[in-house]
C-alpha cells in the first residue's frame, strides 16, 4: 500500500504576544492509503494544528510533510497549496459550513468552481453523490430545509465532489445527536471501505472507535500506541 500522508519530525510553533507556543513537537506520523485513522486528544493538545497541517491549511515550522508521496515544501506558494487541497483533500467540518442561500446541489458543486471539470459531468456527479449519501430527491432543498444529519451528508457529498484521496473530518458528529452521529460515522466507514483514506479528528472515544487506528496527541506530541496498534 502506498503512503497517503507522512509527517517527519514536524514541529509547529507560533507566537501569541510575547508567549512562544510549541503546538507540535517532532511529530512522526505515517498514514497508509485507504486507512481509517482517528486523531484524538483533548482541546489544546495540538490536534487541530495537526489537522490544519495535514489539510494543507497551515505550514509546519520545521520537518517534512508528504502527501501521496509528494513532498510539500515549507515555502510552497499559496496557490499551489490551494490546488493540492482541491485535488487531494475533502473537508468535513463540525459546523457543516454549507452556504445557506444555495441549494444542496449547488453546495455540493461549489468546490468545482475552483477546478476545471465539464459542467454536465460535474452535475451528474453531484446528483450521484447526493444519492450515495442518501439524499436523492433533496437536490433543490436549501440547508434551512434540512436536518443537521442531512446537512452533514450534503457536506460529505461536497467533500467528495473533486474525488479526493483523503477525507479530513474535524469532529463531524460534534453538532449532531447520537443517532445522526452514528449514521454519519457509518457513512464515513462506508467511504473508507470504498478506498478513501479517512482521517477523523475527535475528542470522543466512541467516535474514535469507528476508526481502525487511533493516534493520540497530548501537549503537541504523539502518545505511545495503547491499543489497535499497527
Amino acid at each position: 500500500m502506498s503512503v497517503a500522508i507522512e509527517l517527519r519530525k514536524v514541529s509547529k510553533s507560533y507566537k501569541t504576544g510575547k508567549l512562544h507556543v510549541d503546538a507540535l513537537k517532532n511529530i512522526d506520523i505515517k498514514i497508509e492509503s485507504g486507512e481509517f485513522v482517528a486523531i484524538m486528544g483533548p482541546s489544546g493538545s495540538g490536534k487541530s494544528t495537526l489537522m490544519h497541517i495535514i489539510g494543507l491549511l497551515d505550514r509546519p515550522t520545521k520537518g517534512e510533510l508528504f502527501i501521496a508521496g509528494k513532498k510539500i515544501e515549507l515555502d510552497m506558494a499559496d496557490s499551489k497549496l490551494a490546488k493540492l487541497r482541491s485535488e487531494r483533500i475533502g473537508f468535513v467540518f463540525q459546523t457543516f459550513n454549507l452556504l445557506s442561500k444555495i441549494t444542496a446541489m449547488k453546495n455540493v458543486l461549489m468546490p468545482t468552481q475552483y477546478r476545471k471539470i465539464g459542467k454536465v459531468d460535474r452535475e451528474e456527479r453531484a446528483r450521484e453523490l447526493l444519492r450515495e449519501v442518501g439524499l436523492a430527491g433533496r437536490e433543490d432543498h436549501r440547508p434551512t430545509e434540512l436536518s443537521g444529519g442531512q446537512i452533514q451528508r450534503v457536506a460529505i457529498a461536497r467533500s467528495l465532489i473533486n474525488n479526493p484521496d483523503i477525507i479530513l473530518a474535524d469532529e463531524p458528529t460534534g453538532n449532531l445527536d447520537s443517532k445522526s452521529g452514528t449514521e454519519i460515522m457509518n457513512l464515513l466507514t462506508e467511504l473508507n471501505k470504498k478506498g478513501k483514506t479517512v482521517i477523523l479528528i475527535t475528542h470522543d472515544q466512541r467516535i474514535a472507535d469507528f476508526a481502525d487506528r487511533t493516534i493520540r496527541i497530548l501537549d503537541g506530541e504523539v502518545q505511545k500506541p495503547m491499543k489497535g496498534a499497527k
Binding site: H52, S79, A82, R85, S86, L99, K101, I102
Partner: protein, 403 residues
C-alpha cells in the same frame, strides 16, 4: 462565469442594501448623462438653426466678444452689449461698401408696447430695412408681403405666434394692431421657422416695422443693436468678415467696441458655454461618484466580514487568493454597473419627459452610454479592490473559526 452567478446571488439576497449602496452611483451617472444629453440636444438645435441661416450670414453686435480665448467678454465693458448707441447707420453704409456683401439690414430694438383691442400682446418690436427677409434666409413672409421702404409708415410684419395669439385662424393681413397706442396695418405674416423649435420662438413673436417708423417710435433716437450681414454665396466668409470688421473700425475711429460673428463663431461661443456647464456638472457628478464609491467600499467591507466563514470554506476547498479577490471584485463591479444602468435608465426617462414637454430633444449617444458604463465599472474596480484584497488575505483557519 461562476463568480458572476455568485455575485448576482449575493446582490439579490441583499436587495435593500444593494439599492441604497448604488444610490450615489445612480445619481452621479444620471446627472452626467442627463446634462450631456440635454447639451447634445441643444447643440443639435443650434446647429440646425445655423444651417438654416446659411453659413454666409454674419451678425454685427455691440460689445467685444472674444471667440478665441474662451473668456467670452474679453475684458470689454459688459454694458456695451445692451448699449444702443454703438452701432450707427454710418456703420450700415460702411458695410454696404464692402465687396462680397450682398445684403445689410440693421435691427433696431423699439421700445414699443403692442396691444390688440386694448389687450397686451407678447411681441418684440424691431425696426429694420425691407431686405431683412432676404438677409435672414430662414424667415419668410408667408401671407402678404414685406414693406417696401424704410419710410413705409405705420405698417408691420408680424411673427406667426402673434398672429395665432391675436387672430387665430383668421387671415391677419390688412387688419390692424396697436404699437404704443398707434394703429399699425399688418402687411405681412412670417411663416414658422421650421429649422429650430427653440430658437424659432424668438422669431415667432417678432413684430417688424420700417426702420424710420421704429426711429420715430423711439422718439427720434437711432438704436441699432444688431446688423445682419449676408455675404455672396460664392464669397469667402472669413475674408468678408475681416473686411466688414475693418470698415466698421474705420467708422469707429479704431475703437473695437463691436463684434462680427459668423455662424461658426456663434457655434464656437455656444460650445464654450456648453463645455463650461458640462465641466461644472461633471465635477459635481464626480463628487457623487466618489461618495458612491466610498459607500460601495464600506458595504463591501461589511460583506467581506459577514462572509468570513464562507471565505474560509472556499479557501479550504481550493479557492486561491486570486479566485477570492475576483469573486468580491466582480460583486463590487456588478453593484456599480447595475447602478450605472439604473442611472442610464433614469436619464432615458428624463430625456423622454423633456422631449415630450419641451421643444428640446435630448440625445443620448452611444458614446455617452459607453462612458457611463465604463465609469461605473472603473468605480467598482477602484473601490472594490481593497475589500477584495482583504477577503483574499484572510487566513483560512481563522476564517473557518469565525462566528
Amino acid at each position: 462565469m461562476e463568480s458572476v452567478k455568485t455575485a448576482l446571488l449575493s446582490i439579490w439576497s441583499n436587495k435593500v442594501r444593494s439599492v441604497l449602496t448604488v444610490l450615489g452611483i445612480v445619481i452621479g451617472v444620471a446627472s452626467v448623462t442627463i446634462l450631456v444629453s440635454l447639451g447634445q440636444g441643444l447643440k443639435d438645435e443650434v446647429s440646425t438653426l445655423i444651417r438654416g441661416f446659411g453659413s454666409n450670414l454674419m451678425f454685427v453686435t455691440a460689445g467685444k466678444i472674444d471667440t478665441k480665448s474662451g473668456s467670452g467678454m474679453g475684458g470689454s465693458n459688459p454694458a456695451n452689449f445692451i448699449a444702443g448707441d454703438i452701432l450707427t447707420l454710418n456703420d450700415v453704409d460702411a458695410i454696404k461698401g464692402v465687396s462680397g456683401v450682398t445684403e445689410v439690414a440693421p435691427m433696431a430694438l423699439v421700445a414699443g408696447t403692442v396691444t390688440s383691442d386694448g389687450k397686451p400682446v407678447n411681441a418684440t418690436v424691431t425696426g429694420t430695412y425691407p431686405n431683412f427677409e432676404k438677409a435672414l434666409e430662414i424667415l419668410k413672409v408667408k401671407d402678404g408681403k414685406m414693406f417696401e421702404s424704410i419710410t413705409a409708415g405705420d405698417v408691420v410684419v408680424i411673427g406667426p405666434q402673434i398672429k395665432k395669439d391675436v387672430f387665430g385662424d383668421v387671415d391677419a393681413v390688412g387688419k390692424t394692431i396697436s404699437i404704443n397706442k398707434t394703429p399699425f396695418t399688418i402687411v405681412g405674416v412670417f411663416g414658422e421657422v421650421e429649422a429650430s423649435s427653440i430658437f424659432g420662438n424668438e422669431f415667432s413673436s417678432l413684430a417688424v416695422v420700417p426702420f424710420e417708423t421704429g426711429t420715430a417710435l423711439n422718439k427720434g433716437k437711432v438704436t441699432i443693436n444688431r446688423i445682419v450681414v449676408k455675404a455672396a454665396n460664392d464669397a469667402k466668409v472669413s475674408s468678408v468678415k475681416e473686411a466688414v470688421k475693418k470698415a466698421i473700425l474705420k467708422s469707429h475711429a479704431g475703437e473695437e467696441n463691436f463684434s462680427v460673428l459668423t455662424q461658426d463663431d456663434i457655434l464656437g461661443l455656444f460650445d464654450q458655454f456648453l463645455s463650461l456647464a458640462t465641466t461644472l456638472v461633471s465635477a459635481i457628478a464626480a463628487i457623487s461618484l466618489v461618495v458612491g464609491g466610498i459607500g460601495i467600499m464600506n458595504i463591501m467591507l461589511v460583506t467581506v466580514t459577514e462572509r468570513t466563514k464562507e471565505i474560509g470554506l472556499r479557501k479550504a476547498v481550493g479557492a486561491t487568493k486570486l479566485a477570492i479577490a475576483t469573486q468580491f471584485l466582480v460583486e463590487a463591479v456588478f453593484v456599480t454597473l447595475i447602478g450605472g444602468l439604473i442611472g442610464l435608465l433614469i436619464s432615458f426617462g428624463v430625456g423622454a419627459v423633456v422631449a415630450a414637454k419641451t421643444p428640446l430633444t435630448p440625445s443620448i449617444t452611444p458614446n455617452v452610454i459607453l462612458v457611463a458604463l465604463g465609469v461605473s465599472t472603473v468605480i467598482g474596480i477602484i473601490f472594490g479592490l481593497w475589500p477584495a484584497l482583504r477577503a483574499a488575505q484572510k487566513d483560512p483557519i481563522e476564517a473557518l473559526r469565525y462566528e
